[in-house]
Symmetry: C2
Subunit: 491 residues, 2 copies
Amino acid sequence: MGFDKIKRSEDYSAWYNNLVKDADMAEHSAVKGCMVIKPYGYSIWERMQQKLDKMFKDTGHVNAYFPLLIPKSFLSKEADHVEGFAKECAVVTHYRLKNDENGKGVVVDPEAKLEEELIIRPTSETVIWNTYRDWIQSYRDLPLLINQWANVMRWEMRTRLFLRTSEFLWQEGHTAHASREEAEEEAKRMLEVYADFAENFLGVPVIRGVKTANERFAGAVDTYCIEGLMQDGKALQMGTSHFLGQNFAKAFDVKFQSKEGKLDYVWATSWGVSTRLIGALIMAHSDDEGLVLPPNVAPIQVVFVPIYKTDEERVKIVSYLNSLRESLDKYEIRCKVDDRDTFKPGYKFSEWEHKGVPLRVAVGPRDMENHTAELARRDIKQKETVSQDNLVEKIKSLLPEIQQSLFNIAKEYRDSHIHKAETWEEFEKALDENPGFISAHWDGTTETELKIKELTKATIRCIPLNNPQEEGKCILTGKPSKERVLFARAY
Amino acid sequence: MGFDKIKRSEDYSAWYNNLVKDADMAEHSAVKGCMVIKPYGYSIWERMQQKLDKMFKDTGHVNAYFPLLIPKSFLSKEADHVEGFAKECAVVTHYRLKNDENGKGVVVDPEAKLEEELIIRPTSETVIWNTYRDWIQSYRDLPLLINQWANVMRWEMRTRLFLRTSEFLWQEGHTAHASREEAEEEAKRMLEVYADFAENFLGVPVIRGVKTANERFAGAVDTYCIEGLMQDGKALQMGTSHFLGQNFAKAFDVKFQSKEGKLDYVWATSWGVSTRLIGALIMAHSDDEGLVLPPNVAPIQVVFVPIYKTDEERVKIVSYLNSLRESLDKYEIRCKVDDRDTFKPGYKFSEWEHKGVPLRVAVGPRDMENHTAELARRDIKQKETVSQDNLVEKIKSLLPEIQQSLFNIAKEYRDSHIHKAETWEEFEKALDENPGFISAHWDGTTETELKIKELTKATIRCIPLNNPQEEGKCILTGKPSKERVLFARAY
């Protein structure tokens, strides 16, 4: 473990890659752009899944599963959608291999060519709306509130573990409604679910906003988003929720009979978050010692490390730690007693630090004599010797405190990295010298948005919800503007 | 809902298809051979997943995720494996579409051809063992006990919902060990986990056995299996657990240093069950009225149906049923109060019957007067009027009783459908007149096994574990045999 070799402040990108490796989270696979999510990284994803799944079910959604493969022609049915997704996708053209006649292993059997090519889903609107056509006849069949947990694939040229990979894991909600209002409400409700999850579970403060036309999901009328700010001042889109209007209903001819007996196209939403959130989690809290995990999402919340010289000491201390663990089990606090005899305490301390375990409890022979234990908080790196009396209570109260503290620190950082820029000079200066969100006026045209991106690599992350209306002038063109938008360089 | 049109005894296959449709479990998708798992079917899969996942974790396993796509050359590395899996698989050859120059939608971009074709995983031994090479150096890295929940694809020509589909959902465990004994023990341990799950969770009795060489997993040294018997006398392989020897370690050059400092190849197992188990569940218990679900796996264990004429009655009865549901919530009994005002009680009864809800509780105005309720058991179709006193206790005790009863009935059926055949005539007669497992002597050669399959479509399902040794003569060739094996026609 050579973790401490790369400092966050020196090379953020190398620090990130090294952390993902050293914390045993994920690695690149033999297939370009696809990752292997290792057990420790996957256990974080499982915790996210459990929580999100509960939040979806609590808001009335059910899960289902739709096919991995989509007929090529489906992609063309929604005009914007095909532009957005047909470009970089994995195409299945054959369904059989055969032994090479020259003995060179297996080759594609030319006889087994598909009549129509199939695409590995980059997202499932098309195949799902093609299915919904048979499921929806009347207003009585609505709303349809369905979510899917799945893998998807978008062929990416430049990949980074968790943040941008060709294959990734995600959930995609696809809902169908009898009215525009209800669908818009659903899209906003799920945005709020995501924001709640990001802030209260991952401890990452987010800005709730709506995308500009240029940044919208291909096929959406409105794309709502949550945007987080990473420690290097770059923004990260952490989740999106789309109001799709009647676009997919029209593309796939999905109509319903209303209460009044009128035929109309169905209204739709879709919304998703992915394993990208693991990247956000890492980049929002971690430090030069490795991963820092908020207790809510940590697979192990408390690790117990016995310190001993003799076997007798070992047995006594480990037995005490196991009894502590059992007491905490009752409160569903996830603990591990690291009683491995093949590693020294220093190695264990370092390993669990790398892996971001929020709280470490070390107990040695002197602690046993003095009836004490050493508590170490991963987040603020403070140690404290405490009495063994009320240790369970102490741990119980520390975990939510750590959770809140991580959110507060991230929020303070985020809030102090939203700058107003009134002129182009201020805008460029802020981007280079003090990166973060820049709140600035913009003339509302895609042309200007693209020009700014070309000049600075900054994009409009969103127009915040409940944005105050304020007269001003576009930082690039000087044309009139009615509100500020948030720019940033982004992942 | 035209469920009662097709009788199980008349056309088992049509009955099954109709049931899957009427219980809202799954349907065929636009892509040949791939299914859509509908919310009700998926909720059954979710319950299976939860239980299995807990069983895997309780036996020391962790989850991870490996890539969907496998380089074609990987398949060729293990000689038997390629024979078994390269034949029918989905092949990705390109990574981009483009707009057709003649305006005919999108076409495959010939410029975006992959250097090496990629296969959608039919199973993941190859990609996982290619990864394990970097994870395993020493005996300290062993055992590696990893499971993956994933979708896989095997191009099937003749498909049937849940039982055989081109894409299906499954879990695949892949473990690595320092010794042959430990790996063999793991393979058997996981077979026992599967058998426990099948019998005690799904209520389906299974025979634990080992496959003949001819029926072995491609690349395995031994394939252990659990075999169930469906109501039409056909067998269904419900799960397999493979002892892979050092085959994949050799194919992917995965060595470890032993405690004694010796370099050796790693020993392996793999084991899996899939959405096929939903098919098994249906075919083991259901009847002419539709699905019958054992309470352990039922998404809804108890449905409450209010019967009323006036609004006043409705309010009073629904409020009583809600209070009952709350009482049962405390015991984690999954209940639903069907208070839909748009359907009559008869319709609701029929719908929940189709969907296999184990227990129905109906309460009308007279019941409220008499302080009674009508309990209806789905499994044995018996109704009983009971007092509202102790209703919660009654329901609590009935659910495990139903679970046990379903298992007992299935076991009785299974046990009475294992026949011994001493001669070829008896063998053929049993297969045609009283299908089930046939226990018979076989000379141990693949040649005879294939000949019997050709003549009768019956295959050797397994050699039961702890099979009594018994001298005899092969039913086909008359050659000497040391033990009986189980034949059956199978799904």
